[in-house]
Symmetry: C2
Subunit: 461 residues, 2 copies
């Protein structure tokens, strides 16, 4: 009797080992199939071309952003999603003016023309604004300055991103406040305007824009960025000049009343738990220069392509897979906030969300923002994904758009796609962020990595 029982146990154990191996093999095969479709019959690159060239840049509140909403819904329909719909989002409406320019008055009545780029949300200069320049190497130096030294001048903050930091997003984070809060800091010292060194690690001719903030009770002053090359030139001039140097700025940007726009949503209905949602997305809006190819056209096509691939391989998801094209990440994140509010209002059950908003570069892995259990789950996927050169499976921030879901759900796992970060800030928020600077295979590998993660989450959550 005991021997029969032992035989039974051994048989059970052996069967369980076989079943596990069989399951692991099936998973590996499915992931191989996902990559095959992405690399041989992928749509990500052509979809990105279409978004960049047929639509172009698409600042929230602009007509082209509305074109992108139409584009997104039609693409999701064309790719055969079960349900496609729009979600209302209020967005700011700010427009860069024509004739945005500037120059430096050089000794001997010569001029040097600059190409300043107004920061997003800046007020205009109301005609030519000519003032003496005062330079600061660091935001802290400005904050520590005497008011009488700064009053009535144009503050130039020349703080560069730290090239020594390996992860360029971390270097960006260290410099972000000069763009985000430089106008407030400068106005608190009585400055007439603020001009910052562009947030980039590239030494080139393009200025990089991005949001800036004003503060209630502090005078609103114009804010602009100049290119890293112009910043180096200007710093050298100011350091070597014995005379005060004047800058002239002309910016006609304007803020209009907020407008109605939309998040775009497409779903593949779950076969076992249709009420439980795994969301994947990027942001549809971009800045009003370049084509928003890496930021965040890549995230848009990554998300759509990942779910399309699962459809193409006839995968029946257990949970509902929802692709979300968030509107207005760049200008206050109203799309992400609205999405989370609506999820709460409707009593939707999100179990996971994935965001791609770090560009279309060669994939390195994923971050997870969730519990230890979620981190362990992500790390358990490494065995399936290391063959595809994915090695980073770590705790970390997911993305601006999906982050508000944390406030709605106690037990949601938020994932951020990590591509290689080295080239991102060459293209970020400037005229170089165009389709031609996205590599087809790197983009396709990103879509495949995200599809693989969705598949693994759908199977294991």
């Amino acid at each position: 009797m005991r021997i029969r029982y032992l035989t039974f146990l051994i048989t059970l154990f052996t069967l369980s080992i076989f079943a596990q191996k069989h399951q692991a093999n099936r998973t590996a095969e499915k992931i191989r199939l996902i990559y095959d479709v992405a690399l041989e019959n992928g749509h990500a690159y052509e979809d990105l071309r279409s978004l960049c060239k047929d639509v172009g840049h698409r600042l929230a509140g602009s007509a082209q952003a509305e074109m992108a909403v139409f584009w997104g819904a039609e693409k999701l329909r064309a790719h055969g999603f079960d349900t496609v719909y729009l979600q209302e989002v209020m967005v700011p409406h700010w427009e860069r003016g024509k004739d945005e320019t500037g120059w430096i008055k050089l000794p001997g009545n010569n001029i040097k023309k600059l190409k300043p780029l107004a920061l997003g949300g800046s007020i205009g200069t109301e005609g030519l604004l000519e003032k003496e320049i005062i330079m600061f190497q660091h935001r802290d130096d400005l904050r520590a300055a005497n008011k009488e030294d700064v009053e009535g001048k144009i503050v130039f903050i020349n703080q560069p991103m730290d090239a020594k930091i390996i992860n360029t997003f971390q270097a960006y984070g260290g410099c972000y406040p000069i763009r985000g809060y430089g106008a407030v800091d400068a106005a608190e010292k009585g400055a007439a305007a603020v001009v910052i060194r562009s947030l980039t690690l590239k030494h080139h001719d393009h200025a990089h824009t991005g949001t800036m903030h004003y503060k209630d009770g502090v005078k609103r002053i114009p804010g602009a960025a100049i290119s890293s090359k112009e910043a180096d030139w200007l710093a050298q001039l100011l350091e070597s000049s014995k005379e005060p140097i004047n800058m002239v700025l002309n910016m006609n940007c304007q803020r209009f009343p907020d407008k109605l726009s939309h998040n775009v949503i497409g779903e593949l209905r779950g076969s076992v738990h249709p009420e439980k949602i795994i969301a994947v997305g990027g942001h549809l809006d971009s800045w009003d220069v370049g084509e928003g190819a890496h930021d965040d056209g890549a995230g848009i096509v990554h998300s759509m392509e990942a779910v399309r691939i699962l459809k193409v391989i006839n995968y029946q998801p257990k949970h509902t897979l929802r692709v979300v094209f968030f509107m207005n990440e760049e200008f206050g994140n109203s799309g992400g906030l609205t999405y989370a509010e609506e999820a709460k209002r409707k009593g939707e059950k999100h179990i996971a969300a994935i965001e791609s908003d770090r560009g279309g570069f060669t994939p390195r892995g994923f971050t997870v923002d969730g519990s230890d259990k979620h981190l362990k789950l992500l790390q358990s996927f490494e065995k399936y994904l290391s063959d595809y050169d994915l090695h980073k499976f770590e705790a970390g921030f997911s993305g601006v758009d999906i982050n508000p879901l944390k406030d709605v759900y106690d037990d949601i796992a938020l994932f951020g796609f990590i591509p290689d970060s080295q080239r991102y800030f060459d293209y970020h928020h400037n005229a170089n962020d165009v389709f031609e600077n996205v590599n087809k295979r790197e983009l396709e590998l990103g879509a495949a990595a995200i599809a693989a993660l969705i598949y693994l989450l759908d199977q294991n959550l």
Copy 2:
């Protein structure tokens, strides 16, 4: 007595733990310093600009290759290497002719011009060569074909690299024989010439060259590549045409007698074991199109910069660090073979060698070709390097130039630098391999990774 002995042992153990920790911290600090110099005060990018723009492409046997030899020796001297010298190497001398062109005769007496690029070492066509085209989708199909179907025709092999393979070098390896041996295969069936689809994963207008081989006893026929776009167009034409289609080829390339050229060598003398050498290198020659920026200008500046950085941080290497710019990797590897022969003849003791010949892209890790002990040693470095996004530490081929050292030394460890491979074959052997397609930070991170590996080897071998 026993207690005192125990106390002594515990003290010894504690001290040893402290010493180990101290050593680990020192190592981590040194590597941080290496990266700081590479990223903040690096010379790799400017050196590469100079090699690409001041010299340009540099096919072994060409005048520009001699210019590169001069450039290399002078750069090594300028960077303060202890010893700089040249090593004689015989190289082939082959020249692409002017007026390299071709066209397809279309029905209705129309023509479509092509931009064929002779493969390295090909004979010319001796005037216009006009023949009917016969297409094969795979080298195996050509080898299985009936001689009477092929005789007197131009063989077109349309075999593409397999996009599904994640490591593009593996995809290249699978396709290499159509370029290397296509002319022999075709001539054995009586063909008049062979035209191949370029070895690339990019759908673009540039043909990619590279070596081809002839075989004693088999007739020598001209060999050329056409771009992937032209190949797709031609395949479609041939598949849809009911009539035979003729191609006209004109190639004036010529082989001249072999010439004398040089490997360029620079050394930093070891302070403890100067007789033991750690070599690091890439190849100085390139193909005669583009600027040899990724292949292998990147490897040249990686190697020089890695050792320069160690010098800048005042590191006194235990072993002699030797930078080698190998001549003629592309056309028979005479530089690498000569280097190994000379090392043997002189009784030099190499303990390790590192090669960078996979481009200047974002670093992923290293391969090692050596004993289990060497693999374990490499893997033990991961703890220092994973913070710098290096995750691949694996057994594998090192590089063509240093590979012959295996035949000289029983116990040498050969390392290959692994950058990300996704974009490499966009640029490989074609007009796009120019300085502008190398990213500054990605290049600098490669030099830092190699400097860190040299430091770790010097400390641990």
